[in-house]
Every structure is written in structure tokens, then in C-alpha cells.
């Protein structure tokens, strides 16, 4: 019961945040810049066109009416019509979304598998050469800009060695390998560092000594006893990384010319397409809030101590 209750509380909190997010994006794109039409259509527009567009987009109504209309539309999957592509925003998002999901999922696999394996090995071989090497590799991953990794991988593995395609999605899943590595390295670094530090902390506790005293081998103790508890904070961070993977996809998608949501956002900005920008940013943020909510709930379920708070 207490688990359900605390999950319910978190869901409610997320809904409040969600409303806030939609309101802020809405206000920023529609109200703040003064006249949204001029922002959209450039500075040399005649009066008549401004009046026509204003009425067409419902911008002559007060902002709260516009907001209510927009939120109502969101529930029915109506996010307005793109000014650049002349198509419904929802339709564009559903066409571009699979690419981003595919990229983020593959990057997550890279990040989590590499991160956890490196972290565990580093913890076991603490202060040995392997540990130093892996931790240096992780630190580099955290510090290197995504565009640098992407361009260097593209140059060597695609342009010079021709193992992978340079751009686009023509080769199916293989075309996602380089973007996924570029995007995932950063997250792999933080997962590896966190796995190492929590595992080292857990290995100090009494129950690990008990397990060892009962005759479990070193590897068995780590896998069956230590890792289970050490993973709790790691899993939370992993779920929260969905956010950075989705927004980091903007740059990776631009460099590798992948048709994803990030590309859509950049297109929307360069094409001054407010409905499209609004829709794709709100859509991505909803996913991120969902990811964080899952992380919170997982944490509550995995660690009984949290429920009492």
C-alpha cells in the first residue's frame, strides 16, 4: 500500500510538472516575442497578411484561451499544423520519432553495457592498471563534446575505412552504430563511475563479509550479493539518462543526417516554424518526464527505505 501511495504521489507531481512545462513553452513561443507572426514570417510582412495569419492561428484570442485550446488539442493528438511542411505536427513527429527511439535505444545499450562492465571490472581491480585505464576512458567520455566524438568516428570509420555509412539510414541498423557510440560514450562514462563507486561502497558492508565467510567465492559475492544492491542508484541514473540521450540526439542526428526529432527541432528553428518547434519540444519533454517518473518509481520499488520518507 505504501508503495502504491508513494508512486501515486510521484505521478501527481509529474502531472503538475508536465502542465508547467507545456505552459512555459507555450508562453515563450507565443507571447514573449511580441508578435509571433513577425518572428515566423520575417520582418517584411504587410498588415493584411499579419491579420489573416493572426486569425488563422487563433492568436487574436487571450493567451489562456489559446492555451486551453492547445492543451485540449494535445489530448486528441492535435498539435497544430507545421508552417514549413504544411502537414500536421503530430504526423511529422510520428514519422521522425522511430529514428530517435532507435538511436537512443542503441546508445543506451552502448552506455549501459559498457558502463556497467567497465564499472564492475574497475571496482574489482581497484587501483590496478585496468581500473585506471577504464576510469580515464570514462572521464574522457564525460568531458568530450558529443560533436567531437561523432566527427572523429565519422572521419575514421566511415570516410577513411568505409566500414560504416557516412550519413543517413540507408544501411539499416548498421547506420546507427557510429551515432550510438558517439551519443552513448558520455553516458557510459557516468554509469561506469557510479557503478564503481557504489560497488566499492557496498563491498565494505557487513553482509558481504558474511557472504564471504559462508564460503562464497569472490565473483559469486559480487554478482549475487554486492551488485544487486549497488545497482539501485545506477538504475535510477540510467533511467534519467534517457533525458540526456534524447536531447543529445539533436547533435548526433545533425552530424549523421538522421531523420529524427532532434533534426525536426533544428529544422523548425531554421524554418521559423513555431507549431513544429513547440510540438517537438513538448513531445520530447513529455518522454523525459516519463523517464524520470519511471526512475523514481523503480527506486521506490527497489529500495524499501525510500518509501518511509
Amino acid at each position: 500500500m505504501s508503495t502504491l501511495k508513494s508512486i501515486g504521489k510521484r505521478v501527481l507531481g509529474s502531472v503538475i510538472v508536465l502542465i508547467g512545462v507545456i505552459l512555459i513553452i507555450f508562453l515563450m513561443l507565443r507571447i514573449l516575442p511580441g508578435n509571433a507572426i513577425i518572428t515566423m514570417m520575417g520582418e517584411h510582412v504587410d498588415e493584411e497578411n499579419i491579420a489573416r495569419m493572426t486569425a488563422e492561428l487563433g492568436l487574436d484570442k487571450p493567451w489562456y484561451v489559446q492555451f486551453a485550446v492547445y492543451v485540449k488539442g494535445l489530448f486528441t493528438g492535435d498539435m497544430g499544423t507545421s508552417l514549413k511542411y504544411h502537414k500536421p505536427v503530430a504526423e511529422l513527429i510520428s514519422t521522425y520519432f522511430p529514428t530517435t527511439i532507435c538511436l537512443a535505444a542503441m546508445a543506451a545499450v552502448v552506455a549501459w553495457v559498457v558502463g556497467i562492465v567497465c564499472g564492475v571490472i574497475s571496482a574489482v581491480k581497484k587501483d590496478k592498471l585496468v581500473d585506471r585505464l577504464f576510469m580515464g576512458f570514462s572521464l574522457l567520455g564525460v568531458s568530450v563534446p558529443v560533436f567531437m566524438t561523432a566527427m572523429v568516428l565519422q572521419y575514421f570509420l566511415a570516410y577513411k575505412l568505409r566500414i560504416f555509412p557516412i550519413q543517413g539510414t540507408t544501411m539499416g541498423l548498421i547506420s546507427y552504430v557510429l551515432p550510438a557510440i558517439a551519443l552513448g560514450w558520455n553516458s557510459a562514462g557516468s554509469v561506469a563511475r557510479l557503478t564503481r563507486s557504489t560497488l566499492l561502497e557496498v563491498m565494505q558492508s557487513d553482509y558481504i563479509d558474511t557472504a564471504r565467510a559462508k564460503g562464497r567465492g569472490a565473483t559469486g559475492t559480487i554478482i549475487f550479493h554486492a551488485l544487486r544492491n549497488a545497482m539501485i542508484p545506477v538504475i535510477t541514473v540510467m533511467a534519467m539518462q534517457i533525458a540526456s540521450l534524447l536531447s543529445g540526439a539533436v547533435i548526433t542526428e545533425t552530424i549523421f543526417s538522421l531523420p529524427g526529432i532532434g533534426r525536426l527541432c533544428v529544422d523548425a528553428i531554421s524554418g521559423r516554424d513555431v507549431p513544429l518547434l513547440q510540438g517537438s519540444v513538448i513531445f520530447t519533454t513529455i518522454l523525459v518526464i516519463g523517464g524520470n517518473l519511471i526512475a523514481d518509481c523503480l527506486y521506490t520499488v527497489l529500495d524499501p527505505r525510500i518509501r518511509k520518507e
Partner: protein, 305 residues
């Protein structure tokens, strides 16, 4: 008598040890010297950052070349003795452009981080000190800001405000304050319960005065650490924005914009993009090393979180 002496010695040693653990008896200078002794990497990073800052300021003295006009006869040359990091598509010296670009890139690291720190402190301290409805509203607002993927939020703000260096500062400050507010709020709440704040309050001290005289100085260690660790994310955000073409615009130059400009020549002249990328990486790494080192000595509490 002997026993008594022994006892008092023990307690004196104990309180000294406790004070050492809490870090209260040490001044900032002592703590920094302790870090310098323990953590050579942090010191090295600090020196590197200071050198970089100085060379950005004194760029015109350090390089004989011009950052804006180049010699087209020397375009796309690889690194050589004359041009240490090669030349770009307009025959400009890449190292020179790197030094001039550092001015904006480092300013973007420092100024918005400072502004977001001030906003975060003001809101976080108010929320923690007043509690109740004010706290609830401020913190929900912070939750909303933290829910956005930061790059996307910065992109939307840049779209709304338009291009320009000042607008980048503003966008990054607006993106960064929420996490500062969270830390400051939780510190304020725990400090509010301490005896000396109670004492100040019972003497009738003005709440604003309590915040500035008693709470803010105690938040300083965490703030210094946060400042150092938030600089890299500001620099990375700016370079990402400029890379996408929605950040710094010509004729200004930043490292992110240099990467963006060099991208189309990457296959012939990778050094144009690589030099600023490596510079960004070095600054980010140095700030992280320095921040970690500072955290170890200044704020063991933050380390546990």
C-alpha cells in the same frame, strides 16, 4: 589529578578532531592549501585554466596574426612551424582564432554560471527560509525547469530572444538556476534549525539579515564547488548551440562556432574543427578535476549525495 589531566587532553584532542572533520576551524586558505598538497591534478587544472584565461585576454600580444582577415594563399594548410594548428578555409591562423574564440567561450562559461548562481541562491534561500506556499511554488517552478532537456530549453529560449552573445548568457542562466536553487534550499533548511540561527532569530534579527549574515556564508563551500562544476556544462551548451547554428553568430567567434565552420572542411582539414573541440574538452576536464578537488576539501557533505 593525573586522570583529570588525561581526560581534558583527550577531550581537547577530540574537539580538535571534530572541528577538523566539520571543517569549521579552517579558513578557506588553509583548506585550499590542503587540497593543493593532496590533489596535484586539481592544482594542475587550476594553473591550466588561469593560463588559458590570461592567453585569451592577451591574445593580441601573443600572436602575430589577425583573427578576422586571413591570407587566402595559405588556406587549409596543415599544422606547421608558422601555423602551429594550421590554417582555416580563409587562410586564417587556427591558433589565433582559438585564442580570440576563448574570450567568448570562457565568458560563456563564467558569466551565465555566475548569474544562475545568484538567481539560484536568491530563490533557494527564500524557499528554504520561508517554507510553506512560497517554498512550494518556487520548488515546483524549479522542478519544471529541471524537467526540460537543457539543450532543447536553451534552443527555445534562443529562438524567442534571437541571436546575440547577451541572449546566450541569458538562456544559459535561465537553464542553470534550478539545480542551484535545490542545493541552496536544502542547505538553508538544515541551517535554519541550527542554534546560532535560532539565537539570532530570538534576538529579533531581521530575516533578510539572518539569510545574508548566517546562512549565505555557510552555503559558500557548496556554491564554490557548484560554480566550478557548472562552468563545463555552460561551455558545452554554448558550443552545442553554436555548433547547431543558433548560438554565437559571425563576426563573433566562439569555439563551438569554429567547430561548426570547420565541419564542411573536416575531410580535407580536420584540424580546423579538432583544435577547438580539444580546447573545449581540456577546459571541461580541468573544471571537473578542479571541482572534484574543491569538493573533497570544502564540502564532504556534497560528496555523499
Amino acid at each position: 589529578m593525573a586522570t583529570f589531566n588525561n581526560n581534558s587532553n583527550n577531550s581537547a584532542a577530540l574537539s580538535e578532531e571534530l572541528a577538523g572533520q566539520i571543517g569549521e576551524s579552517e579558513t578557506l586558505g588553509v583548506q585550499l592549501r590542503r587540497m593543493a598538497k593532496k590533489n596535484k591534478l586539481a592544482v594542475f587544472s587550476a594553473i591550466l585554466l588561469i593560463l588559458l584565461l590570461l592567453s585569451a585576454i592577451f591574445a593580441p600580444v601573443l600572436t602575430p596574426y589577425d583573427a578576422v582577415t586571413g591570407n587566402t594563399a595559405e588556406r587549409l594548410q596543415g599544422p606547421s612551424f608558422e601555423h602551429w594548428l594550421g590554417t582555416d578555409e580563409m587562410g586564417r591562423d587556427v591558433l589565433t582564432r582559438l585564442l580570440y574564440g576563448a574570450r567568448i567561450s570562457l565568458a560563456v562559461g563564467i558569466v551565465p554560471t555566475l548569474v544562475s548562481l545568484i538567481i539560484g541562491v536568491a530563490l533557494g534561500m527564500t524557499a528554504g527560509f520561508l517554507g510553506g506556499k512560497v517554498d512550494y511554488i518556487i520548488m515546483r517552478f524549479a522542478d519544471v525547469m529541471l524537467a526540460f532537456p537543457s539543450l532543447l530549453l536553451a534552443m527555445v529560449i534562443m529562438y524567442t530572444l534571437g541571436d546575440g552573445v547577451i541572449n546566450i548568457f541569458l538562456a544559459l542562466a535561465l537553464v542553470g538556476w534550478a539545480s542551484v536553487a535545490r542545493v541552496v534550499r536544502s542547505e538553508t533548511i538544515s541551517l535554519k534549525e541550527s542554534e546560532y540561527v535560532e539565537a539570532a532569530r530570538s534576538m529579533g534579527m531581521n530575516p533578510v539579515k539572518i539569510m545574508f549574515r548566517h546562512i549565505l556564508p555557510n552555503c559558500m563551500p557548496s556554491l564554490i564547488v557548484l560554480f566550478t562544476l557548472n562552468i563545463p556544462s555552460a561551455i558545452l551548451s554554448e558550443s552545442s548551440l553554436s555548433f547547431l547554428g543558433i548560438g554565437i553568430q559571425l563576426p563573433n567567434s566562439s569555439w563551438g562556432l569554429m567547430v561548426n565552420m570547420g565541419r564542411q572542411f573536416f575531410n580535407q582539414a580536420p584540424w580546423i574543427s579538432l583544435a577547438p573541440s580539444v580546447a573545449i574538452m581540456l577546459v571541461v576536464l580541468s573544471c571537473n578535476f578542479l571541482g572534484d578537488g574543491l569538493r573533497d576539501v570544502l564540502d564532504p557533505h556534497l560528496n555523499n549525495q
